[in-house]
Amino acid sequence: MEISSDKDYIYTSSELDYQEGQLIEEVKASSRESIQDPDAWLDEELKRNILLTSVDWVLDWARRSSLWTAICFPACCAFEFIAAEGPRFDMSRFGMEILRASPRQADLMITAGTLTWKMAPNVRRIYNQMPDPKWVIAMGACGISGGIFRSSYNVVPGYNKIVPVDVYVPGCPPRPEALIYAVQMLQKKIAKAKVVPDLSELPNPLRKGKK
């Protein structure tokens, strides 16, 4: 099949570039503030010592036992992540050896590496593509604050500007042991989550106007 070089495809490349630039600027302008961890209430709940229902327990057990990782490995930390998956550290013990290339089937995003502004819209998009419930582990100093590259013109100072982060793993890069510890911390966090809402929290059709 012959294709002339001047043929316009769906978009020409320059148009695509322009759109991408617009998108990046948009994301950059809208992510000045860091996003709070949405599950910060978990610790307070625990202090009140609410009894978890057995349904909660089963669901939380299932969720924490099979954390499938989305592929989002921009930089160096990826190799420590792969080392953690590898024969010596072996995260497959926790049922985490399945790396879903499609974010639609993943539960956990391990953000291994420096995040640049050009990459930021893509990371946010991957996060949005993941189905709930989903978690994020910010791996490495770059993931926490931009790390060694913080003063650069193109580096996002921390993933929490773009996506809500559940667990932070310090280190540049963190050793696989640290990552495994982070995964275990995340599992503890998931274990506290309340899946089934209390009856009083449900909208009651009889009591109008009140939640």
Partner: protein, 373 residues
Amino acid sequence: MTTTRELTLKTEPFVLNIGPVHPSTHGVYRMRCTLDGEVVVDIEPVFGYLHRGIEKLAEERTYTGFIPLTDRLDYISPMSNNLGYCMAVEKLAGIKVPERAEYIRVIMAELQRLANHCIAVGSMLNDAGAYFTPFMYTFRERERIVDLFDMVCGQRLTYNYMRIGGVSQDIPGEFLPALHKLVDRLTIFIEEYENLLKLNEILLARAKGVGILEKDTAINCGISGPVARASGIKWDIRRNDPYSIYDRFEFDIPTCENGDCYDRYRVRIEEMRQSLRILQQAMKQVPKGPVKADVPHLIRPPAGEAYAHIEAPKGELGYYIVSDNSIAPYRCHIRPTSLINLAALRQMVKGWKVADLIIIFGSIDITMGEVDR
């Protein structure tokens, strides 16, 4: 007479976006592929998803302070990056490195080459679709090499081991025996990695004759390293422009003729063997003495410029440093091996299928940290 071409259906090409997040783009590389069914008509590489501005950051750091950043360039082989940068600064400032430090540097660089080729071979086979198994096998041996690095500098990935005028600290006493053991062990495993491909019909079919890079194209594109040698260019900076103490060792420069994926794989395997040869010679000759020249912490090289290049695992890695006699480089340019090796990708993949595109890309062995810097 009508040809089959005229009889076939008229189809529309479509654009497939591979990356920046894709299992086999080795990071955040992105290709806008124009496909005709499964056949790649054209690709347009898009870079910059890991552009951290390292060259700019170099200008605001001291000469020594920039070494940690070089670790994060080609994060699969940080020792080589350290070495290249330190050599450039030493060339600029005219610093003589002690003998023992030179040997340690060579040992580290060659170990790094082994570690890098482990990953290169493993990930290429992984891209061919062997579900993680070869990758795990090569990673198993890489862990042992990383153990040695861990022993000398306490880090697993970003070593920051070399210093201007030597290395940061002497190797511990148990290093050389451990190295000896490792070299013996790796000899066996390199055999295993070779057999993974040599005896496998599917891999041969996938790799042989696929993604041919002609010698002239390779030279014109400035391709270096194993990719160039697989195309028949007998060019190795360790031999053609000996740096450090490489002129003291006996080793061959493996080359192949065809320049396909299979040859690139073979060259890498053969280079691992040669690295082992260098290691065997080097570890017997390590002399006693200091490991760091007497260099002040804040060095001020005389105004001028210098380019030092080394044969990094991926090819020619060079540092072009301009000094204005201050404590920070005036300009530090890094010759990005991976970026320049990608220059020929477009010619190599045209007319091949999507599956071939992935394996050709894998066989070039790039790191995005170095491409984007």
